[in-house]
């Protein structure tokens, strides 16, 4: 019975819908580079996360629609969660917003 439950849980994990994580960046933004590098590392090995790193110039309509005033800006499932965010705060936000206590991404120094 226990084995069946574990299998079921694994199947659930594999079929769980991907969470869309988008980081909006702009040129000349030092925090943006660090945040992008960190997120790429963090998303690696997380099949349920679909990561996009987007320059604001490529999606200006989205910038207006989402209300992005400062970069880097973190959007998860079309909801703006944070702007002008440092890597440490990004790590903390991802830990509490997405995978809960299982996730413990190490911030890039």
């Amino acid at each position: 019975m226990k084995i069946e439950i574990e299998t079921t849980m694994a199947e659930t994990k594999q079929t769980a819908p991907a969470q869309q994580v988008t980081l909006y960046v702009c040129s000349g933004c030092e925090r943006c580079d660090g945040a992008a590098i960190f997120l790429r590392g963090w998303a690696n090995g997380r099949p349920n996360v679909a990561l996009e790193i987007v320059s604001i110039g490529d999606q200006p309509w989205q910038v207006v629609r989402l209300g992005i005033a400062h970069t880097p800006a973190l959007v998860i499932d079309d909801e703006l969660l944070a702007q002008n965010i440092s890597v440490n705060k990004l790590a903390e936000l991802l830990r509490t917003s997405l995978n809960g206590p299982e996730s413990n991404p190490q911030p890039v120094s």
Binding site: S27, G28, S55, V63, V64, R65, G67, I68
Partner: protein
């Protein structure tokens, strides 16, 4: 040209309303250093600044850049609704990667029909800030360069979100050259004034890191006005 600082017209709009607004406004990305408009361009749009900074400036007869305003996200500006008697538009240049939305007259008419309450907010805002601009202009006419510098630094602090801070840092991206252009003096004069104000305790920091001590700055201005 209209100067509607911190209008934040789109702040708090429901998603469905924002979708309707986006059908009316045009949206544009401007790279750092590029111009939104220049003298000679028609002055017939109202711009809303969503990301980045835009500076408007003119050139003196000696060719020196004179900054008129620096706009931040949430601000609105432009010449829509003004008649033809208000002179030439200034240069408007992106200081960062900039995202603006804008309306011309036809779009603004559609906007008024679709969003009359938002339009009323714009008009109320224009009236309030006209009075503020008049007060600011009067202050500049009757004060010396050092006072203008301190006023400008305090205003920058308010705009950058430090209105309640006892001491705050002005970002190094505001160069002495830009501060000089904002108050109508040359860079070397600003550098000299900053040095003197640091000795007097009104300002702190070293080199390009400029810290403003609010109370000391306000005391300085009170003493200068006597």
């Amino acid at each position: 040209m209209w100067n509607l600082r911190q209008l934040d017209l789109f702040s708090g709009l429901k998603p469905a309303t924002m979708e309707q607004v986006l059908r009316i406004v045009s949206v544009r990305h401007i790279e750092r250093g590029e111009y939104l408009f220049r003298p000679g361009d028609p002055c017939n749009r109202l711009y809303f600044l969503h990301h980045g900074r835009v500076k408007t400036h003119v050139y003196s007869k000696q060719g020196q850049e004179k900054i008129m305003h620096i706009f931040y996200s949430g601000d609105a500006f432009g010449g829509l609704l003004l008649g033809t008697t208000h002179g030439e538009v200034p240069w408007a240049q992106a200081m960062d990667d900039v995202i603006v939305s804008y309306m011309d007259e036809n779009a603004f008419k559609r906007f008024m029909q679709a969003f009359p309450d938002l339009c009323m907010n714009i008009f109320r805002y224009m009236a309030d800030h006209h009075a503020d601009d008049m007060r600011r202009m009067e202050r500049f006419i009757h004060t010396d360069a050092r006072s203008r510098l301190v006023h400008t630094l305090l205003d920058l602090g308010d705009k950058l979100g430090h209105a309640e801070a006892e001491s705050f840092e002005i970002a190094p991206s505001y160069t002495h050259e830009e501060l000089a252009n904002m108050i109508g003096v040359v860079r070397s004069t600003v550098s000299e004034m900053i040095g003197q104000l640091r000795i007097e305790g009104v300002l702190g920091g070293q080199g390009r890191h400029l810290v403003v001590h609010r109370r000391a700055a306000e005391r300085f201005l009170l003493n200068e006005e006597r």
